[in-house]
């Protein structure tokens, strides 16, 4: 692999998403640079999750383009596509754990798919990831159905981190975690970011996490990104949605 290109990690230009006959996004622009932690905020049903699905190629743009690590995901070959997808980790809103596999195998799954690592290596890595999200190795034997909601989130995060991704997409990472845990979660991500130059795009409603973690904020409304900029700048702005967020923040962050 060549030196890391200075290109944006994610670049969307004039993106339109059509689901059925309903436009979710229309002419949307967003650029995420390496090392940014972007908090994606917006009202319920404004298409935040759909935007994440666009990034990883689960949906195809009706117009415009999505470039991931500088390449158009739809235009590259299948082999390159897999290599690109290995460079990102996605935490789905509901966890999306494989219900037939125990926790350990869920986290080991992407590592085993590489077909290069031996079992001892995989076991160490999985235990490391479990420890990262504050789970014990014993938890590895549990089935996803036996986990609490918060544990599902943490296991899903561990799985998203398994391949040491450069880009992490998080859909509501702290929903279902108690405030203490979501604070540790934010600290963990910040540490990862400083060690690995991780880029993160996260959908969140949790202002505490947003304030602790995000370097940038993107506001999704009216089918496009209405505001994008550094956290402090956006929070000082006067978009009604931001104002509503800020209204909540003063009572919540304190």
């Amino acid at each position: 692999m060549t030196a890391r290109a200075p290109a944006s990690v994610v670049e969307m230009r004039g993106l339109s998403t059509l689901i059925g006959d309903h436009y979710v996004h229309r002419n949307l622009d967003l650029r995420v640079e390496p090392g940014q932690i972007v908090g994606l905020v917006g009202g319920s049903g404004s298409g935040k999750t759909t935007l994440l699905r666009q990034i990883i190629g689960l949906l195809h743009p009706a117009a415009g383009s999505v470039r991931l690590f500088g390449h158009d995901l739809a235009a590259v070959s299948a082999v390159d596509q897999r290599a690109m997808l290995r460079r990102l980790g996605m935490l789905f809103q509901g966890g999306a754990l494989f219900s037939a596999l125990p926790v350990f195998d869920n986290i080991a799954f992407p590592l085993r798919e590489l077909r290069c690592l031996d079992e001892d290596w995989i076991r160490r890595l999985v235990n490391l990831k479990l420890a990262m999200v504050e789970l014990k190795p014993e938890h590895g034997k549990l089935m996803p159905a036996e986990l609490s909601g918060g544990m599902v989130k943490r296991v899903a995060l561990a799985r998203a981190l398994a391949l040491e991704p450069e880009l992490l997409l998080l859909d509501e990472p702290t929903a279902g975690l108690d405030p203490d845990r979501s604070r540790t979660f934010a600290d963990l991500l910040r540490e990862l970011k400083s060690e690995l130059h991780l880029t993160v795009i996260m959908v969140t409603h949790d202002l505490d996490t947003l304030a602790r973690l995000a370097t940038h904020v993107a506001v999704l409304a009216e089918q496009r990104i209405v505001e994008f900029g550094p956290l402090a700048e956006i929070m000082a702005g006067d978009h009604p949605l931001v104002a509503a967020f800020r209204g909540g923040e003063s009572t919540k962050v304190m």
Partner: protein, 368 residues
């Protein structure tokens, strides 16, 4: 920034540089591993100062190369040392010991226990159905008519085309094969007796039961199973809605009502197919066929065929609901139970058919 991970062994010194991440390591993995394992490097000075990035996969690689001990002399940035420390202190579970494959006695015992659990589950559903029916008799307004109607439509009306097609084709086939044999004896006219008795009494009900078990039984199990996986069943209970009345009972009643009608329909189609084939093969006109059908097939056969349909329908729905409720909240269990539901239903149907044959052996057979 040069990104490939590099490893240089100089005199008494190991220099690591570049990007030590999983993605960057993979293309060079075998080369690096053999270099790390080639000689005893533990006493060397490890210089990791030029490593630009290190993730936990690389840290594990190094930690294993060091035989899980810190090397005597190590130069590493504080950030990467933290990563290594995390690996060093990570709990290491023993390899889970694989349970030995169960012996013959264990396996038989397990089968018997499963059988008992299944029979118990079936009895519970049956008992619950009786309780529900007596409750609904006292509170008729709570009868789940809409669900029953929906199930009749799905399992009955929607199944009409496929049962008609299969019935017709089976009728044609049997008629054709019988005609070949009968013609060699000059007993052409007995085709009416053969088709009439075999289709109405035996083939129609069993054929429809197999089709319905595959079609509706599996979908009932899958539906209840998914409702278990997604906790919808629990949501119903939380709203104070009885899952047995809303989910199980309509399926039982609907299939019990629908099956005799489907049997009638499929038998009629099979006879039609047989008639067409008899006309083409043996030149037996429809009118003759109709006239003699009444004489050759006593009406008791129709009663037996339809009551078989009734029992088969109930059995299929019963088994389907039982296995649906046994689904554990994971996809593997869902598919296993759907398979079990269909296989068990078809096996039971054929068993029951044999029992019917024994108990009705002196009924409805025309004495010549």
């Amino acid at each position: 920034m040069n990104s490939a991970p590099r490893l240089q062994v100089e005199s008494g010194k190991v220099v690591l540089a570049g990007e030590w991440t999983l993605a960057a390591l993979l293309p060079h993995l075998s080369e690096l591993e053999s270099k790390l394992a080639s000689e005893d490097l533990a006493d060397h000075l490890w210089d990791l100062a030029d490593v630009s990035r290190m993730d936990s996969a690389a840290a594990v690689l190094l930690w294993r190369a060091w035989n899980e001990r810190w090397p005597g002399r190590l130069e590493v940035s504080a950030m990467h040392r933290r990563m290594l420390e995390r690996v060093a202190t990570a709990p290491l579970t023993a390899v889970a010991d694989v349970a030995p494959p169960p012996g013959l006695i264990e396996r038989v015992g397990y089968l018997v226990l499963t059988l008992i659990a299944n029979i118990k589950g079936l009895v519970v559903i049956y008992g619950q159905m009786l309780l529900d029916l007596s409750y609904l008799f006292r509170h008729p307004s709570e009868m789940p008519w809409r669900e029953i109607a929906a199930n009749i439509y799905k399992a009955g009306a929607m199944a009409l085309p496929v049962t008609a097609l299969v019935g017709f084709l089976i009728g044609v086939t049997i008629s054709y094969l019988s005609a070949l044999q009968l013609r060699s004896f000059g007993a052409d006219l007995f085709i009416v007796n053969i088709l009439g008795v075999s289709i109405i009494r035996e083939l129609g009900p069993v054929l429809v039961a197999v089709l319905v078990a595959g079609r509706s039984g599996s979908s009932m199990t899958a539906q209840i199973g998914v409702m278990r996986v997604t906790e919808e069943i629990d949501a119903l209970s939380a709203m104070g809605v009885s899952r047995s009345i809303r989910v199980v009972l309509p399926k039982l009643l609907a299939l019990t009502v629908t099956m005799p009608l489907l049997v009638l329909w499929a038998s009629a189609m099979a006879l039609l197919g047989g008639m067409v084939s008899a006309l083409l093969q043996l030149g037996i006109p429809f009118a003759y066929f109709f006239e003699n059908l009444q004489r050759a097939v006593p009406v008791a056969n129709l009663v037996i065929g339809l009551s078989k349909g009734l029992v088969f329908g109930f059995t299929i729905a019963w088994v389907a609901c039982h296995f649906g409720l046994r689904v554990k909240p994971n996809t593997e269990s869902l598919s296993a139970n759907t398979t079990r539901s269909v296989v068990t239903a078809i096996t039971l149907v054929i068993l029951i058919d044999a029992v019917f044959a024994i108990f009705t052996r002196s009924i409805g057979i025309p004495q010549l």
